[in-house]
Every structure is written in C-alpha cells, then in structure tokens.
Assembly symmetry: D2
C-alpha cells in the first residue's frame, strides 16, 4: 500500500475526522495536506469556521507529516497555533511539513489556508512536536 493510501485508511478510522469531513490530499515523506470542505455545522457565532476546526486541522496535519518519517504510530505531543485571519471560503486546507526529525520525535510546521475559488488566504500557522508512540513490549 502506498503512503497516501495508508494515510487515508488511518484518517478514515478516526471518527472525529470523518465527522468533520476531512480528506487527506497529499502525503509524502516530510509533508502532509488535509482538506476540510466548509459546512455550516463547522461554524462559530459570526459565520466563520470555528477555531477548533482550524486547530484540529493543524494538529492532524502535523501528526500525519510527522508520521511520514517516524512511522504510523505517532501522536502530537504539543503544538502552538497563531490565528491570523477569520477562516472562511469553500474549504480549508492545512499543509504541514517536517522541519527536523530525530529518532523518536519530529518538529513540524503547518499553515492553514482558506480556499475560495482560486484564491488561498493564510488564516493560521502552527508549530509542534510529533512523537513516536512507545509500544508496550
């Protein structure tokens, strides 16, 4: 199975990602891209996408990017996100890439964009640590 197929299988096994309509668009060594079509149920009180959707996307894209170099058994240990503009458009896309990787951890960055037609607007940026899960022996 290639990396993207495996990633899509993992995403499809996350009920919360299914609930939000998340799609894995790209996945290759050191990079991941997740898309979420914007629907009314993802909104906050002013009609924009809720920040919690944006942070979910950043978190998950960071994890998938880290997983491309650490293997599929990974978790986000921590991340930080700056919200830059209201999240809106037809869809959001989160693009994460590995900045540095060690044996057990990677540090990744992620930008989240609002897509409207051919336009992309940066609406948040994140940085975090992805860790390989310790497997019980």
């Amino acid at each position: 199975m290639d990396m993207l197929d495996l990633g899509r299988k993992i995403l499809a096994s996350q009920p919360f990602s299914v609930l939000l309509g998340a799609e894995l668009i790209h996945l290759h060594e050191g990079a991941a891209e997740i898309k979420v079509p914007i629907t009314r149920q993802l909104g906050q009180q002013h009609g924009f996408v809720h920040g919690g959707v944006v942070s979910y996307m950043a978190d998950n894209a960071l994890t998938f990017a880290g997983g491309t170099v650490l293997g599929p058994a990974v978790v986000t240990s921590e991340f930080k996100i700056n919200y830059l503009r209201p999240a809106r458009g037809d869809a959001l896309v989160a693009r994460a890439r590995v900045i540095h990787h060690g044996r057990r951890q990677t540090v990744c960055r992620c930008d989240v964009f609002g897509l409207e037609g051919d336009d992309e607007v940066l609406c948040a940026t994140a940085q975090g640590t992805i860790s390989r899960l310790s497997m019980p022996s």
Copy 2:
C-alpha cells in the same frame, strides 16, 4: 441576563460547539469551564478522544474565560497545548482561568481533564492569548 446565561447563549450559537455536544458548566469573572460528553464520533483510531476535540475545548474555554474580563466580543489570538495523557472517560472538562489581563488582551491557562466516575485525570494543559475584537466604526 447573568454571565453564565449569556455564555450559554453564545455557545449555543456556535454550530461546531453544538455538533460536539459542548456545555458551559461554569462562567464567572476570570474563569470558564466547558464539558463535552465523550461519544464514539469524537474518537481517533485507537479509541481515545481525538486531540482535535481536546484542542477545541482548550481554545474555547480560553476564549470564554478571556471574555469574562474583556467582554463577549473576543477571539483566541494564539495558544499552545501540551497533550499529557490519552483523553478518555465519560466526559472531558476544560477549566480555564485568566492569568493576566490588560485592556485589549488577556493571557489565560486551561487544563483539560478526563472524567470517569468521580475520578479526574489531567490530559492536556494550554496557555494562550485572548484579544478583544476591533469593532469597525
């Protein structure tokens, strides 16, 4: 209308919070508490609650806490979260409080706990900045 009633009205006007089943448990000056009953649809692939739910809760509790001192027109500008343990139990609760507030911004902290019966287990901790929205004149 008292603060908690106003807060619940705001939470109820966020479709994403409604989708996740979030409830505002406490809201008083400098503090907010949000609860989300754990359901299967909030999960990730290993059966725990998805980190995106936890980050949503931290983000939203931080915003509500900040709103108690800055007024209801606030947003989370940025936050950082450390995931400490798998999120599980019957429900999650996020407790946020204001650490410092200026005229336009507050800095808040939030702990997220998994509740199982009478037990509470800390599963994540966050710190962030809440900003008053600039109103167009």
Copy 3:
C-alpha cells in the same frame, strides 16, 4: 550531596548563568526557583530587563524543575512564554514546577516575577517540555 547543592553545582558550571548572576534559590522534587539580581547590563533600551533574560530564566527554571524528576541529564525541548508586564525591580525570580511527568519527558510551568522590596509582580509565564538526554551507549 543533596538536591539543592547538586543543582547549584550544575548552575555554577554554566558560564552563561554565571555571567547573568543567576542563583538557585530552591530545588526540590517537582519544583525549582532561580533568582537573578537586576543590574544595568541586563537591560533593554527602555530601562527594563531584556526579555531575553526573562526567557533565559524561564527556560533554565523549567529545566531544573524537570531535572528533579528525570535526573540531572536533561534539556528543554521546547517552551512557550507570554510576557505580561515590563520586568523590573531589585531582582527577578522564576518559579517552575512539574505539571506531568513520564519516563522520558516532563511538562512544566514557570512564572517569572519582578521583586521590589516585599512586592512581587508577575511579569511572564511559560510552559514547556523537558526531556531526558539520550546517553550514547
């Protein structure tokens, strides 16, 4: 050698900590406190203490706190700091404590205060991850 003595020996072996005049005031399981007397050479252009001194103190106090549960061979992997007020007074003190610890990492928080006479003013707050150094075999 008790924990505080060992910690002071480590601090004294850091030339940068000696340059800044840092003192280890307390060190016990799960907590560390570092003090830096304010001198003119630690300032920025407006007469307050430079933010870099405050971030040094947060970083180092986090590391020492983590070291009380992980052992002396530790490093700060990452941290986040919010500056709350100008740092000033007679001295600064950074108080860190362990929030959660695993086998290889701890998550700690740190508050930095400006001391002036008997007054303490919170001027920054930080949160970060301390990791045990992997020893070459």
Copy 4:
C-alpha cells in the same frame, strides 16, 4: 537614517545585547538577522551555547522583524521555541521574518542556525507575536 542603521542604534542601546555581543546583520521590510559570535561565557555545562542565548536571539530577531512593519516601538508579546540540535560553531545567526501583519500586531517566525566555516546547521525554530507599544497620550 536607513532601517539597518536605526536598528543597529537600537541594538546598541540594549545593554544585554551588548553584553552578549549581538550584531544586527540585515534588516529590511519583513525580515531581520541577528548574529552572536560564540564565546565561552555563553555556554552551558556541556560546552554548547546555553539555550537562553538561543531564546534571546529568537526573541530579539522576532522583535526586530516585527518592528520593520510596525515601527520601532514594539515588544515581543509571546513566542514559542523548539530546540532542535545543540547550538555550536563559530557563531549563531537568527533569521526572522514576518508571516502576517495587522495594524497592531505581527506574527513572525525565526530560525536559529549554528555557523561553522561555510556550514549552517539549524538548531532552533520559533514563532511569536510582536505588538506595537501603546503610547501614553
């Protein structure tokens, strides 16, 4: 006075930056670069540069980058840093750039490299918020 000259004048008015031997190498709209020659007094106990020096550099380069779009009266409100590798070499250089700017705040990123001969090794990466100082009227 051009932007780089003004920046150097500001850096020279920070006693802590003078103590550390910091030099402003580049400064133009949206970007700043600060260099610190490595000396023994900047070290920690293992012979590498102390993390506090790295965080000072990230903090200060972020502030200078933000200042190129917000004007010279700025402060770092908050930042987050991930340490990636031991900081060593002949000098460290911090390169910051503006990711997004609003009227009162910018969000910037900064990479810190160790320089040894012609080699550059990334040793830390940071992200933070720079704010315009509110001037008393």
